[in-house]
Amino acid sequence: MKDKTIRKKDVSDFLDRLIQSNRVYAPVMENGYFLFKTIKSGSEVNLDYQNAKMSPKDILFPQSEALFRYQLEKRDVEIDVPVQDEPNPVIFGIRPCDVRGIQALNNVFSKNPKDPYFEARRSKTVIVGLGCKETHNGCFCTTVGGGPCTDDGSDLFLIDIGDEYLIRVISDKGEDLLKEEDLMDAEAQKITAAAEVAEKAQEALGPCVEVQGSKDILTRRFNDPVWGAIAEKCIGCGVCTYLCPTCHCFDICDEALYKEGKRIRIWDSCQYPLFTRLASGLNPRDTVEKRIRQRIMHKFAYFPDEQGMLCTGCGRCVIECPVNLDIREALKVLLRTGAAQ
């Protein structure tokens, strides 16, 4: 599939055309930061952004979603499962770390047994990634096997080469999206320029710690008191889990009023004290130390077991943690022998 190019000033019109038959999510600035929102016009989008404050995982895995609704009629119950009938979602301008986040969610929700709610959205979604030219001081995608301009998982991938973007056409879905467009084929020198931008960005962000073998090391250190020192300042607020592109824990509850109700799935966080409280009252993870240990091991020991790294190095947990609990620092302490912080 041939690479294409598009001038930066033509992107807004391109988006306007996409909006005709797709539901387009793109980064929009609001209150001084960026969020992925449904756009009504290409002019709302600002691609001159580092990353969105919240990861776009809520497009495929909403913060709250009705699994079914019910209605009580005399002695009957009528159950209604919502049908996914939105126009095709297009996530435009998503960063490689967030794309890898979606891949991690694929590994959770699209493997057997498939989650029909996630699948209904994912199967129709087209991902248009955007490579990073610059990283922020919380980024560490290269540490966890990613990179500022890696395109795996995207259907189309944009790289900034000055006045234009190079568009790598990676999948059939991506090609389909462009079929109505009259875009120029990319010239060889532009392809090279893009490759250079990608390489430069990758080199500029060296890995901060070696995570190879993390599963064995962390398992060995399960009862190490160093976890206590790492977790001591954590206030258990859950911001890290909510902003994380790969965190996917959820709670299911019913909400009802008089004769109607619904069962909803909502985000939950392993950092909340009652997350693992059992009906008997026993709570296996009753201290902050155990919960922090669980989060780090889930990402770097348990999940990699079967399904690849559960961290994409986006750095949101680093930037937004109210007490600056830096997961990179925690890994440095844990994955090297000795030397507590």
Binding site: E255, A256, L257
Partner: protein, 149 residues
Amino acid sequence: MEDQKMAEPKTAKWEPTIVAFLCNWCSYAGADLAGISRIQYPNNVRIIRVACSGQVNPWFILANIQQGIDGVLISGCHPGECHYLTGNYRARRKFALLKSLLQFVGLEEGRIHFTWVSASEGVRFARVIEKVTDIVRSLGPAKKMVKRI
């Protein structure tokens, strides 16, 4: 007292729903007295008997708002007459703050009411219900903070 309700023809016009939390010893007894004396008052109110106005948890009021109740009334014994001595004093402080806070966020001022009605004040009770119903009716159906399932 004129019975306005029976004179009006039945229409599909909206009528507010009002929930009243009445303390067992004074206000509820006052409402009872109104009933026994055949004093007519609007039938929009649904009465919930509580032990004391001090027992009323602010959550009761907020839950009502969420469920779309148009108006809430809490009524207790006059200060100094509480069956539990100080329950209504506690309630007085709590609800001064709650009413002020709810008004501050933009909830219409006339949705939540507090009053004192003693066991011998059947007429006063009826008048309170009339006044509250009129105020809430003029505000229209509850819209703010109502939760739709």
